[in-house]
């Protein structure tokens, strides 16, 4: 009887929960502007789907039990082996938890890792836009070696990142102080993060690291502040100020911007 009551409540709650996942899940990342962010979002929704019934199972237990079994003084007293264990329950619990975890490891973890491996293969980087990203305390600095732009700046002299929509971008991440190249020992770790791209990679002194992104939406920091470069690893007092504006534009607009940068001598 208790079991049935519990089961019905659980199914109802889980269904409501799944409806919630469908309705709210796609907004989990708030705003996505790259295929990588979409991959992460889809993986998250997949996880939500499976976690929801588990979550409600436990939560319902924590609420149902105290309400239902309150003050059962002396009426029923579980006794003997039955009170101490319940083999089917234990077996189901352990099997389900192993299965769910193996599933999660296969998908989304391993399947997404496959995609990450693929993204770095040379044939998939053919024609990619290369952006040199240099981090120093506390500034992001962008260069476009294919276009001869060494220091991308907006008219006010702030660092700025322009990306053409629909073209694969390969960020080349390095950490050193280009103003004090002799002070090698002073660099720290930063983390290159554009929230709308759904991915961040650390920028580490002495290493060159890569991040591949496919921007999908024309947008900019002014339109949505999630489209900004933000340092995500603490790097000293200037850490909160270590951001830069991002513009994702059409191909033509990108070329126009490159020309303007050339004219400005950047």
């Amino acid at each position: 009887m208790d079991l049935i009551l519990f089961g019905v409540a659980w199914v109802i709650l889980s269904l409501l929960g799944e409806w919630g996942v469908s309705a709210w899940g796609p907004h989990f990342y708030y705003f996505t502007a790259s295929t990588q962010a979409l991959d992460g979002l889809n993986a998250s929704i997949f996880l939500f789907r499976f976690l929801t019934p588990i979550f409600f199972f436990v939560v319902l237990m924590l609420i149902f039990v105290p309400l239902r079994f309150k003050h059962r003084e002396a009426t029923v007293k579980a006794q003997g082996r039955r009170a101490r264990t319940n083999r089917p329950f234990v077996a189901i619990w352990i099997t389900v938890s192993i299965l769910v975890n193996v599933l999660f490891f296969l998908h989304p973890t391993t399947s997404a890792a496959e995609q990450q491996f693929d993204s770095l293969l040379p044939q998939n980087l053919h024609g990619a836009l290369i952006v040199d990203v240099t981090a120093r305390q506390w500034e992001w600095h962008f260069g476009y070696p294919q276009y001869g732009v060494t220091a991308a700046k907006d008219p006010n002299g702030n660092d700025v990142l322009y990306l053409p929509v629909g073209r694969t971008v390969e960020f080349v991440l390095r950490s050193y102080d280009f103003n004090h190249p002799y002070a090698l020992g002073l660099d720290v770790i930063h983390s290159f993060w554009i929230p709308a791209f759904g991915e961040k990679e650390d920028v580490i002194p002495g290493e060159t690291r890569y991040e591949v992104i496919d921007p999908t939406v024309i947008t900019s920091t002014e339109q949505n502040p999630m489209v900004r470069v933000q340092c995500a690893e603490v790097c000293g007092p200037g850490h909160p100020y270590m951001y830069a504006a991002v513009h994702i534009v059409s191909d033509q607009a990108f070329l126009k911007w490159v020309a303007a940068e050339h004219k400005a001598g950047n």
Partner: protein
Amino acid sequence: MASVITETVPQQSRRQPLPPVVRGLIWATIGFLVVNVLMSYVLDPLAGHPFITNSSVVLGWFAAVVGWLLGVGAWEEIVLPSFGILDRSVVTGTGWRQYFAMSLNHKVVGIQYLVASTGGFFIAGLAAMLMRLELMSPTMWLFPYPGQYLTTVGIHGTIMMFSVGTVALVGGLGNYLIPQMIGSNRSAFPKVSSISVWLVPVGILTVAFSPLLGQWTTGWRGYEPLAQNDANGILFYYLGVFALTMSSFLVSLNLTATILFKRTKGMTWNRIPMFAWGMLVVSLLNIIWLPEIQMTFVLGLLDRLVPLPFFTAVGSNLTYLELFWLFGHPEVYIVVLPALALWMEIMPVMVRKPLFAREWGVIGVIFVMLLSGFVWAHHMFTNMTYAEELPFSFFTEMISIPTGLAYMVVIGTIWKSNFKLTVPSLLILMSMFNFLIGGMTGVFNADPVVDLQLHDTFWVVGHFHFTIIGGMVFTWIAAMYYWLPKFSGRTYNPKLGVLGAIWIFIGFDGAFSLMFLVGMEGMNRWVPVYPSYLQPLNIAISIFAFILGAGFLFNLLHIWWAMKSGPKVEANPWKSKSLEWMTESNPLAENFPVEPVVISGTYDYDVDGVAAIIPNPAG
């Protein structure tokens, strides 16, 4: 064995001129001044210029700690006897004075630990309130400089982790309860715990006063190579953590030996209380990983003092990250395993049913302990190659299986039970709910493709506070209410207790669940300044955080009041079968004048009768 009893009764052999704590402070001051002067005037080539240098303050600090420990009582209790001079014993005083001296009574030590930990909790809590105040505005307004805010974050995290998370349930409840639970009158090495507790205030104050030496912006992880670029406050971070981890290391040795070798007759392996299992696995983790992080921090310290290039930008900074997280992840299980064990300890008493599937609960904590050494690099998904992600992701996902067993055991226990909703059981339900959220959000972090977005955002801040406050702090408070009658022979006011529980639940869940959202919306960690579109959520978080802070204070005052003047209760108000409830509810008394003999499991609530008997001395 006549000495058995005289040891716990205060000795009055000699008058001591100064109270131990005062003498400790004087000796510490002398130690610091002597060594500091030696370093900065005699050995330093730039004599006396300035008075306090990096090396003089570090060595002076060590001298001060030695002076403090000796002055507080280690001189008579440990140093002289180990040289064979036995005739000078300390006067520990009677009554409350015992709490201000080295004590060989494990219950006094337990309370000293709990008080020190609570002090750390509220100092670090104050820091959290300042952070939340600052974050109500997207610009700098409370702190003049961002470095000060970041120092506050570091002080908060460091004191919380090393003086509360690792200490309250182990040094505090462990010392207090474990000997009683296994039917012993004392811990295995009373002197070890009696001295280790005095390192806790040292560590807390050292970290809290770190700004005296300058800012440090690395947070509680002392991240390299940033730590080498910072001002000198980081020195006191290394030293304070050294004192605190040393304390936990010593306690762990003592507790492990106590559980292994001090069990009374009949306290067999399959009757050992769950809390003792928790203490055992946690102590083993401490014994391995605390020396590891201490040595790592010594290298960090030398990087600054000498300076060596170990973890600097031209050294290998990722090595530091690996070494830190090798300790750092077991650390979070060190924090939470005792809490899982306490759920399994307290719930059977509350619901009058035997512990369900006990062996699986034990297997669970043991496997969490084993796996915890294989997951560290999930903190480093953003700085490893893609190929390295998979093994760490695998172990991280798998560790949820043994962790889940604790839920299985508790759910099996409370199902069809005779559930009593009391303040402790309510708080444990809340703790289970909160830790569930902590664990489920962790599944997202375990998946690299998602973690690359979540890492270092407020999502993570929400996640780990849900595991630590939700899992450990709620359970700690539950345990304080549960064992209140044990501590004092008095109990709490149920209405106020429920109010306190609901209060912190609302404050906590409000504040930290919104942190998930603000993190997803693009708020990164360690920022006193942020884009203004994030302000509304931050204001809401801060308001809930203040409610939470006030709620903790309320619970503290309530527990304090209950200990001093709450209603008196009988010796075993919960009708527990556990051995600690057979003892007198007076911390200054001997536990078992006659050693008890355990005759059945301590969770066998399906049968009447007691779990242990006190053999008749005459027979």
